[in-house]
Amino acid sequence: MVTRGFTGRNSAGDQLDRIPPGQHLVEHFPVLTAGPTPRVETADWKFTLKIGPRTIKVWNWNEFNALPKTKMTRDIHCVTSWSKLNTAWEGVIVDDILADAGIERPSDFVLAHSYDGYSTNVPLADLASGKAMVALNYEGQPLARDHGGPARLLVPHLYFWKSAKWLNALQFTERDEAGFWELRGYHIYGDPWREQRYTDD
């Protein structure tokens, strides 16, 4: 249905093919969080890899930073309809985390957990093969607190609620288990190019 009088800004020009349907470009970096911003010091930070309830490996900040670092520049898309192009990140890709723990593919599904009790589910196929990282830097600087610092998940090809801030664990699960927003009406997978915003989209 055409909306009377609406023309749209259409400012994206030659970048239009990089913007999923219903998204608009932003230059700034909006912050959207369901609760207060946790204060996590790197000295206290720990990252745990689990298979079900079983802990496989725990890294402290220094141990985690000793893992191979990878840079990644990607477009990101928030379900609230903003997209941001060419965001530059540095961190540890999930493949390198699994390799350091000596595991390959214990199950097909992963739940990401955060210091504030947040969680989100991502299939392993969407984390592995260099698709996703635990990001420690953004635009050459340590990740800001309100963007998830000291460490967040980065799964740039899915809606950004999958890129859990203040990450403290990845947990392999037998089934695809819904996380925080997935239990509250958001899509179980969240592909921006298919506009999978809400449960039945």
Partner: protein, 248 residues
């Protein structure tokens, strides 16, 4: 299972029934739904505008009206100077126009309907919109959970729903209102003439006379950061603090 009625609805067409200029920068749009729904105060709708060339713009707007209202919902939309959708609403949209929306959406920032525990609401500018739905639902259901609203605005003219909030406070001893006016001196003794800070949040909690069991904060990210830190410093548990931050 969801916390509330978060099951997403499909797109529907609604009609603009009434437009009211609320403040210099905010207008209320009353939309008559073709497919009426009952929402939970705090929920939002997604609005979809389509240009003749097929370009689609999507935005989320909190519902300001009480769920018990009718098949008309109220959205209070602030005109953002370099916006794309809000200038359309302010400058072009007219009574009788059809708008596409879906809702109700959102399963987290929800008024605890059955709770009688004290509630602290903190908003800035149009961030009062989902909080207003909560206050109106509380009034319509004759709920008496002690509730305080701290509302920050630039000037008194910018206070959204000012008349309704002031008369509600007069009528209901269990509802406390405090305005934080950042660019003018406050008129009432219970208001503040400065930007929000930790002490202000602590004072609101003291006026509630109980530690709130639910805190809802809505506004820009810097505002929400200060308000949430203030609530944490006042001894509240992070788990009771729900935030909504305006994105892009």
């Amino acid at each position: 299972m969801t916390e509330g009625g978060a099951r997403p609805a499909s797109w529907q067409t609604c009609t603009i029934a009434r437009i009211i200029q609320q403040t210099p920068s905010i207008k209320s749009f009353f939309l008559r739904l073709n497919e009426p729904f009952v929402h939970v105060a705090g929920q939002h709708v997604d609005v979809r505008l389509t240009a003749p060339d097929g370009y689609v713009a999507l935005r989320s707007y909190s519902i300001a009206s009480s769920p018990s209202a009718s098949n008309v919902i109220e959205l209070a939309i602030e005109r953002l100077p370099d916006g794309e959708v809000s200038p359309f609403f302010h400058d072009f949209a007219a009574v009788g126009d059809e708008i596409e929306l879906r809702g109700p959406l959102g399963g987290h920032f929800l008024w605890p309907e059955r709770s009688t525990a004290p509630v602290l609401l903190i908003g800035a500018g149009s961030g009062v919109v989902p909080l207003m739905a909560m206050i109106r639902q509380r009034r319509d259901l004759a709920q008496t959970a002690p509730t305080a609203l701290l509302l920050s605005s630039r000037t008194r003219r910018d206070v959204l729903f000012a008349d309704e909030l002031l008369s509600l406070e007069t009528a209901d001893p269990t509802f406390k209102l405090a305005l934080a006016i950042t660019r003018e001196a406050p008129v009432r003794a219970c208001d503040f003439g400065r930007r929000i800070d930790n002490a202000m949040v602590a004072e609101l909690i003291a006026r509630l006379r109980h530690m709130p069991a639910h805190v809802f904060i809505c506004g820009s990210n810097p505002f929400v950061e200060i308000a949430a830190d203030g609530a944490l410093m006042a001894g509240l548990d992070a788990a009771v603090i729900k935030t909504e931050r305006y994105g892009g």
